[in-house]
Symmetry: C2
Subunit: 288 residues, 2 copies
């Protein structure tokens, strides 16, 4: 299976679904706010999280389409987290993907508000999708799984500890170790992968055993993805980078080991999980 061909088929479906949300709302939303919300969405990034959500639905025998609302939601959440992380009071980045960040292209207040609204919109997408009416219990599980993944115990808590980690390292103090870094990666990066994959599988009709296996699969893939990201950013020496703690060779071997372990967890899923497996491999071998 050619993973790039799979992605090339799925990404336009995801883009169209995101675009449809904005067309619907545009006349009632202040123009700068709408522009700021769209700024990092179009053109977007790799759309890896939403593609994972669709592949997870297929991996348990469901249709990719069933997970489309979640695919949109996780991309909106990912985008909100980038907009807020770039703020002057956080990572203070002026550029992302070769373009000015939202607070540079607009202003700081608009960037805060755009991130806030992207988060709300993610939950609106889930609640208002036809899947929600057809199987509300299933969709409510996905809402709860996503909310927990991105809150104080997940994405936001990971970013908070990431900033603290940076402060400790900048001061030249010790205290930064593998356990703390793994915990940051699990929350800041892997938690959203887990919500995308487990939620996508739930919408595809996963049973409890499949959900449990995919929780572990997604955590390993998410951490491996973060390590691969640190390797791509090796020159810029990010705060909570694995490269603060080990060399590039060891880090790459660690990421590949995590993906191998992840793949073992879903060995019994058969042919229909082919795309999910290839995406896991792609997550660590990609070159931007």
């Amino acid at each position: 299976m050619d993973v790039e061909a799979y992605m090339a088929e799925r990404i336009p479906q995801i883009d169209a679904a995101i675009e449809a949300r904005f067309e619907r709302a545009s006349d009632r939303v202040p123009a700068p706010l709408s522009g700021a919300m769209r700024h990092l969405l179009f053109p977007g990034g790799k759309r890896l999280r939403p593609v994972f959500a669709l592949a997870a639905a297929e991996a348990v025998g469901g249709r990719a389409r069933a997970a489309l609302p979640l695919a949109v939601a996780v991309e909106l959440i990912h985008t909100y987290s980038l907009v807020h992380d770039d703020l002057p009071c956080m990572d203070d980045d002026d550029w992302r993907r070769g373009r000015p960040t939202v607070h540079v292209a607009f202003d700081e207040a608009t960037a805060v508000l755009a991130g806030d609204a992207l988060q709300s919109e993610a939950f609106a997408v889930l609640a208002e999708d036809p899947v929600a009416a057809a199987d509300p219990a299933r969709m409510l599980f996905v809402v709860g799984r996503l909310a927990r993944a991105i809150g104080a115990e997940g994405l936001v808590g990971g970013q908070q500890d990431d900033l603290a980690f940076e402060a400790v390292k900048s001061a030249g103090k010790g205290g930064a170790d593998h356990v703390r870094l793994a915990s940051i990666h699990e929350r800041k990066t892997a938690a959203l992968f887990q919500a995308a994959i487990v939620g996508g599988a739930a919408l595809g009709g996963a049973n409890d055993d499949e959900r449990g296996r995919l929780e572990a699969f997604a955590r390993d893939v998410g951490v491996a993805f973060q390590i691969a990201d640190d390797l791509l950013d090796a020159d810029s020496a990010e705060a909570a980078s694995i490269l603060r703690l080990q060399g590039q060779g060891d880090a790459r071997a660690g990421a590949e080991g995590l993906v191998e372990r992840a793949l073992e967890r879903i060995e019994g899923f058969g042919e229909r999980a082919m795309a999910l497996r290839e995406l896991a491999r792609f997550a660590v071998r990609r070159r931007r």
Copy 2:
């Protein structure tokens, strides 16, 4: 009915439910983040929005308890909006309710993250409540209603236009008029009242006719509340204050007229809507 006695009975129930969420999560959340999330919650404000949610459930013949998860959710959302509105890039306030604002007591990054996590937690509260398992379709309606109320078309859009309104007024330019101000108040303030009241009623078992009447009731009460708030803040001359456009006497008469109209909309609700009616009157006559 003594509205203050009603509130004195309900507020401890709401506080206990909020506290229970934090006790559950505290060991997995970074300490500064947890502290920043709690900073404006305890001691809190008037808890008017959550009390409205409980009274709305009772107004349609349900139990107040049914709306408790929504009461918690709207208070978390209200608190998140205050934390972000106080930021230096927004209203730049150092004090709120006689204490330092979150970005002063902690730091700016922590304030952004605390607001973000409070929003996520609101949706987690709804999705994880036993009501969600018992009647997921009803709870999913509440999730969607809340998400729409606080997003780009609602709370956040209203704040965006509020900041633009302030810029126009500060520059001494015209363009500020009743229509624009009413639109800001409807989104920035009334939308969350609507989600609290309509959602509370939904959880109490409202039918479509009741929901429709309460949408209109809640919009009028929300706008009236905002006018009353502007009157209490008359000295500080807030940006999008009604007092930029009319005198205190006219503004007060306008707020009271809105409440009268709101009360007419729920005339047929009978005795069980007594608390809801008294809360509507209280919302405009309160003195802090």
